[in-house]
Symmetry: C2
Subunit: 569 residues, 2 copies
């Protein structure tokens, strides 16, 4: 803030000048003591002036309600919402969220460092503070083909942005633990480094922490989280669409208190955001599980701020940013008023209108796939036993199976009766014409195909199908759309969701995106697909760093061995 603003803020605190805004009569949460205070909260020039009694200013009557700091998400990939940052903000601000720390690694896989910086630029002027960590693992591995790699130079380009605050989750934990100099060079770019160490414990975890990494959001048991906390890693309790860990991790809070614990959502699909909510939903769930509301609140406000060194966020205290939520109660955590940067940003669950930043053309034009050859999806000669990817419902891991699939005209083909579908990943950043092919079990697809340009992490085109014509129709339509999701049958596209921004984000309102996804899921059900979240499941089949067997444009990947393997055994 300017010197003049600071001077006025102090005058308001003293009672010598009128505040801009006063929230009166609420019980005010003191994050530093976990108490509820009585008093009016005065705001001037976007900051808290104090808690007391004030004359003048716009008034918000908080009587009978609870005033808490704005909620903060300690780790989120905004792109998983499939929404533009402004639309993401509209959805979560209504829920009381006023800041997020994001890792823009999805868009960085498609658009490199400029994409990550654009995501920050596209967050300018929102009622949501969007901070970013510089992605450290683009591409996720050498076995998948992002638009380009982010080396230290590209990360530094991102870190020069004023809202870039550190190095994002270092997912390549085996290289960290092994002391690989390239990954340690990235870790050394900034003193603040987020971690990602699923299942890492003991001496390996010591090595990971000794590298200087200071948080983790991948624990699935409270005992694993406790090991991390003992080593000085902030425990980010996660509740994502595809990784619902909160319930299990709350035991850590029950046993050892809420210190060094904070909430995060990591990846939430738009339907989860719209239907369940955001950090408010985590508070609700924690309190329902018996956690004190005050403990839930510090994990949702002050702790994520402290974890990330955001010294002026996360509390209602003099000089702090005036980001606050007026809650009806601390069971529902329903925000009747949300204040962001000292101004009312949402009322009664609706974010007030604001002007979203314009979307530049260059983030829309990202599909660069070579024309598909006639034999692009050909699996090879029949008669051999082959590797098959088997989906594990509700999880990101797969199981590698061996099968003897069906054949037609002497070539291996899908076999819907045995739930064996053809899978392909089509490189789409540099028109290389590279296509990886394989077989997958578990979708239940009886006919047709579906495809997505949301295909972690490189976001090439991933398509699964019972026939090549439908697969081809999906892929071609996605190229025409500039990215998205498509469902086809009988060689004809039935419906699509366009994700024109980087092939990842819609430009539509959240509710329309959810509605369209529901419709696409319903179409897929007609084609036999009844598993939960089929598009998300498909999108993770291309991620080369989660075991056992995955498919990239370079072919089948044995994740544990970290190499490409042949389809035929």
């Amino acid at each position: 803030m300017t010197g003049a603003e600071r001077t006025r803020l102090l005058a308001v605190a003293r009672g010598d000048a009128e505040p801009d805004l006063v929230v009166s009569g609420a019980r005010v949460f003191s994050a530093f003591t976990r108490e509820w205070l009585d008093g009016d909260v005065a705001v001037a020039d976007g900051r808290i002036a104090g808690i007391g009694s004030y004359d003048g200013g716009e008034r918000i009557d908080g009587a009978g309600r609870h005033l808490v700091p704005g909620l903060i998400d300690a780790h989120v990939h905004v792109e998983s919402s499939k929404l533009l940052p402004a639309e993401f903000a509209r959805v979560v601000v209504a829920r009381g969220t006023t800041a997020v720390v994001c890792d823009p690694h999805e868009i960085a896989n498609v658009l490199g460092a400029p994409g990550a910086r654009w995501l920050l630029d596209a967050s300018e002027g929102l009622p949501l503070r969007v901070f970013a960590m510089a992605p450290s693992c683009v591409p996720a591995s050498a076995l998948e083909s992002a638009q380009g790699a982010l080396g230290p130079a590209e990360m530094e380009q991102i870190l020069r942005h004023p809202r870039a605050i550190g190095v994002a989750e270092v997912m390549d934990f085996p290289s960290v633990i092994a002391g690989d100099p390239d990954v340690l060079a990235k870790v050394g770019l900034h003193p603040h480094v987020d971690g990602h160490a699923p299942g890492v414990t003991g001496a390996a975890l010591d090595a990971y922490a000794a590298a200087g990494i200071r948080s983790d959001h991948e624990s699935t048991t409270w005992e694993e989280a406790l090991q991390k906390r003992r080593r000085g890693l902030w425990v980010l309790l996660r509740e994502a669409s595809n990784a619902r860990n909160l319930e299990d991790l709350l035991e850590l809070v029950r046993r050892h208190g809420a210190e060094y614990c904070a909430f995060c959502t990591d990846d939430r699909e738009p339907d989860m955001l719209v239907r369940e909510g955001h950090i408010d939903a985590m508070c609700r769930q924690a309190v329902a599980a018996g956690i004190a509301a005050e403990d839930a609140l510090v994990m949702a406000t002050l702790h994520p701020a402290r974890c990330h060194g955001l010294a002026e966020l996360g509390a209602i205290a003099p000089g702090f940013h005036a980001d606050m939520a007026l809650l009806d109660d601390v069971e529902s955590f329903r925000a009747s008023v949300v204040i962001a940067g000292g101004a009312v940003a949402a009322r009664d669950g609706r974010t007030l209108p604001f002007a979203p930043p314009p979307v530049p053309d260059w983030v829309r034009d990202t599909m660069n796939a070579a024309p598909l050859q006639d034999d692009a999806f050909d699996l090879g000669a029949a008669g051999e036993r082959v590797r098959v990817i088997e989906i594990v419902p509700g999880q990101l891991i797969t199981v590698a199976r061996h099968e003897t699939p069906a054949q037609r005209d002497g070539r291996l083909v899908a076999d819907p009766v045995r739930d064996l579908a053809e899978l392909a990943v089509i490189e789409r950043h540099h028109a290389t014409g590279r296509v990886g092919v394989g077989l997958v079990r578990g979708f239940g697809l009886r006919s047709g195909a579906f495809a997505s340009t949301v295909a972690h992490d490189a976001h090439n085109i991933v398509v699964v199908g019972a026939d090549h014509a439908s697969m081809r129709a999906c892929a071609q339509r996605l190229v025409e759309l500039g990215g998205g999701i498509a469902v086809a049958d009988g060689g004809v596209v039935r419906d699509t969701l366009a994700l024109p921004v980087a092939g990842l984000l819609s430009e539509q309102p959240a509710e329309q995106v959810v509605e369209r996804l529901d419709e696409l899921v319903a179409l897929l059900a007609e084609q036999g697909v009844r598993i939960d979240a089929p598009f998300m499941t498909l999108s993770f089949l291309a991620l080369s760093v989660i075991p056992d067997l995955k498919l990239t444009d370079r072919g089948l990947v044995d994740v544990t061995a970290a190499r490409v393997v042949e389809l035929v055994l």
Copy 2:
């Protein structure tokens, strides 16, 4: 650390390389969970590698003992010890302290920004990490005469030192609260700012906090400290020679937990350091008062580190600096081994020898007083009622009294029978010849005089006496010594303690300084002075920012009115 050191640290953590040092068999304090863990602690290149089981390395048997992070003092004026930084380190490292955050404002009053930087340079290579905050209030007020003023430019010069980490206690709280632009400019120099707001509460405290100040060590009641903590100020619980606040403040910890609380000593005379100890004594006292040892320990280790953003200090965790103390138990907190930067620094209460940095000549040559005029101490014509400073035993405040003093030859003079002594402050930085004079009650001085160049905060010569000849003898001897403390009677100096470095610090070992101070106090007792800590009491009579009535070289200061007043009413 270098890349090669980091690589080796990770290898040690994994068990692939031998550690330098292993502390085996101790119960290991986990500061992030307040637990005691079983395991060996491995150290490589000055850092903690992990807690587990290791082959090789130098061994320290910790069986039956408690291994804790090295203790940290959150706020200290090293100069109050009257010891060189290396000697201060020798005393406190033996007690388990491995880091301090100091405010070098005493030496900065005498030697400006170069003095503050020298104090940091003189801390190089010690077994104690010395961090500094840039003094924000030199001189303490416009009514006293330091060697020079520290403006923003001088503070920035200090802040460029690699161990300077923020802006030191902003003592001029009335100006902060009033929004004075000069003091706010200093506050704005760095995001990390320590506070000093004795008795400030309510709206004034809101204003003080809204300025961006984030700690305070001046609370004397737990209720005052609670007000500060609610506003996001770290509560630094103080136990100084002259301000023993710990006992009262521990109630805050009992009621609201140890979060956002840390220990500090502020000002400890050498006798307190040698006889009682340092942060170890605060832990001992806290546990004796019923505080859990684990709560005391986090306030003595991790919390001061977090308060000051020292991310790699304060815990025994992988990647953290290997600063640790092996305690016999958590009642006595006696450190049998102290490890600093990965090497044994003390054993059985004795710091191992190390080479102290040499002391440059320019910090010794600081006395620049004009020759005293014959009438330098003349109080003026007799017969009038005058203002008298009355000492409050054990406190820094004084009371302003009105008296009709004795006279000789028509001039006002001391009156030992009524315990009225003459007081003078002689400017000694720029040979201006300025001498402030007044009368003081409360020392009990029957004859002679005593004087000190430790005279907060400007550190001119302060002298109190029953006769001018003794006062003159003291002052002249201090000029010859280059600063110190002197006692005289009958116009003859009886004994001295030389403080040749800036007139503040001895070059002798702590035990000798304590012995000499004891001897001087004994001499003073012979002259009637029986109050506790007479030299410290004298040194604070010149501090123009603690009420009610003080004396500087510019005359009597009415502190509340912030102006010089006449002796004669």
